[in-house]
């Protein structure tokens, strides 16, 4: 099934070189792009999306794939596979990511999280991650990736990019994906062909499981939106910013009355507003 989901590389030895070149190019392009990301005229919190027309095209293709491939597959998956088995799949997928999470915990100097990640890995190792005993022991899974690490180090998102099949991203998180790939020990296990198939299947199953787990929510988000692309774009940014802060409240921004969301400074409650005429809109 791999071929459907990814530009197919051949099946020879030189593929690994080709693949590495592909990733190296992506990396270089992403690095160059983030270098020239200079959003000047953006409103606070707005996503920098200078390649919106191209992104919207990729998004339309992704949406088509979602409608005709991913959504039906996820539906069958959640209706035919019993929940405990699906939980084992999720648990395994989380477990194989442990080394990457651990390295990122350490790079973020989050020693408490590193300890939890390492303990989880050991606690779930006897059953190769399929059985999650760790959560019951109070060791709760939390994902980290190199995009988040860059964020913790102070890197802004940069340019918003809609990746084919992989969905919303930006220059920072795309770089993060590539670095995570090379950080991952499973990248270096087995022969090239087997490894390639493993990497593709793992991501495909991950995608199907994610879609199945959020089946109603995602369908709802789509059905109730007037501009689904824009909705996904802002949700992606808010969710990533939250992941970088590990869910902690945003620091207060300087304003008249400091609060964690400067944007709500513009909010005018009904009672203090006798005329709906000229309310302070954003200064362009």
């Amino acid at each position: 099934m791999g071929g459907v989901f990814w530009p197919r590389f051949g099946s020879k030895k030189k593929d690994s070189i080709r693949m590495r070149r592909f990733f190296a190019t992506t990396f270089l392009a992403a690095a160059l792009l983030s270098g020239c990301a200079a959003p000047g005229e953006l409103d606070e919190g707005e996503v920098y999306d200078p390649i919106e027309p191209a992104n919207r095209m990729v998004f339309a293709v992704n949406e088509t794939i979602d409608t005709f491939v991913l959504q039906p597959t996820a539906f069958v998956y959640k209706e035919t596979i019993p929940a405990p088995v699906r939980d084992m799949v999720r648990s395994f997928l989380d477990w194989v990511r442990s080394p990457v999470i651990l390295v990122n915990d350490i790079l973020q100097s989050d020693w408490a999280a590193a300890e939890i990640t390492a303990s989880r890995f050991v606690a779930n190792a006897p059953m190769f991650g399929f059985v999650d005993n760790a959560t019951g022991l109070g060791l709760v899974h939390r994902d980290e990736d190199f995009g988040q690490t860059l964020g913790v180090w102070g890197t802004e998102g940069g340019i918003y990019i809609m990746l084919p099949l992989l969905g919303p991203s930006n220059t920072r998180d795309t770089v993060g994906r590539v670095v995570d790939y090379f950080m991952d020990p499973t990248t270096y296990i087995g022969d090239d062909d087997a490894n390639f198939n493993y990497q593709i299947s793992r991501r495909a199953v991950d995608g199907i499981d994610f879609r199945a787990r959020n089946y109603e929510v995602i369908n709802d988000l789509k059905a109730t939106s007037v501009d689904y692309y824009a909705r996904v774009r802002t949700i992606y940014q808010q969710a990533r910013n939250s992941a970088i802060r590990n869910g902690a409240p945003a620091p207060s921004v300087p304003s008249v009355v400091p609060n964690s969301s400067g944007e709500f400074d513009e909010f005018v409650p009904s009672s203090s507003d006798e005329q709906t005429g000229s309310k302070p809109a954003a200064s362009d």
Partner: protein, 203 residues
């Protein structure tokens, strides 16, 4: 001077401090009451869906500052709209929210809201809470942003897992308006079109 000034200062801090914490526990109770009322509406077996919509609309407008939220979502485009457009937009927006949430009533399966705490955030109060799923799913974090109006509170934003509904809709509306020649009418039309689909889907 020093001693007296210090006592006055301490007294002032105590008064302000206790008032603040009182205000915040008031906010927590406000959210508890809101959740209870919403839950009893969702689980009401005798009421029909259209009836529930009417009652949800009333609860929403009593507890959320809907006109102000609507204005905030339009942001810089609010002054561009005519009076008729503003009214049409506020109506469409309100109806859209009502349908979005009442359509979810049927998928309710015993979840409860646990109010965990509150804090002041500038001119607002934020109440933190979690949806607890009795079926074993992970809890969902909900943060309510409230504004105090007189003795009462009004909700102006709801953050679900750190994603703000108000900010999300504000961005979405802005994008749609920008991509349609800065026309507020385009947004009103899109909202009404989406309403037609929502109504067809669930009625």
């Amino acid at each position: 001077m020093g001693a007296i000034a210090r006592i006055v200062l301490v007294a002032a801090v105590l008064v302000v401090g206790s008032r603040a914490s009182l205000a915040e526990s008031g906010a927590e109770n406000f959210i508890r009451t809101l959740a209870d009322r919403a839950l009893s509406l969702v689980t009401e077996p005798s009421a029909s869906m259209p009836e529930k919509r009417v009652r949800f609309d009333a609860l929403l407008n009593e507890t959320f500052d809907m006109p102000a939220i609507g204005r905030f979502l339009l942001g810089r485009y609010w002054p561009l709209a005519t009076q008729e457009q503003r009214e049409a937009y506020l109506k469409a927006f309100n109806e859209n929210i009502v349908y979005t949430y009442t359509n979810r009533f049927n998928s309710y399966s015993g979840q409860t809201l646990s109010v965990d705490g509150s804090r002041e955030d500038g001119q607002f109060v934020i109440v933190t809470s979690r949806i607890i799923d009795p079926n074993g799913g992970p809890p969902v974090v909900l943060d309510w942003r409230l504004v105090k109006t007189g003795d009462d509170y009004k909700v102006i934003d709801l953050k679900i897992e750190d994603v703000s509904m108000s900010i999300t809709l504000r961005r979405e509306y802005a994008s749609l308006i920008e991509n349609n020649g800065r026309s507020v009418q385009a947004l009103i039309d899109a909202l009404n079109k989406s309403m037609a689909t929502l109504k067809a889907r669930n009625s």
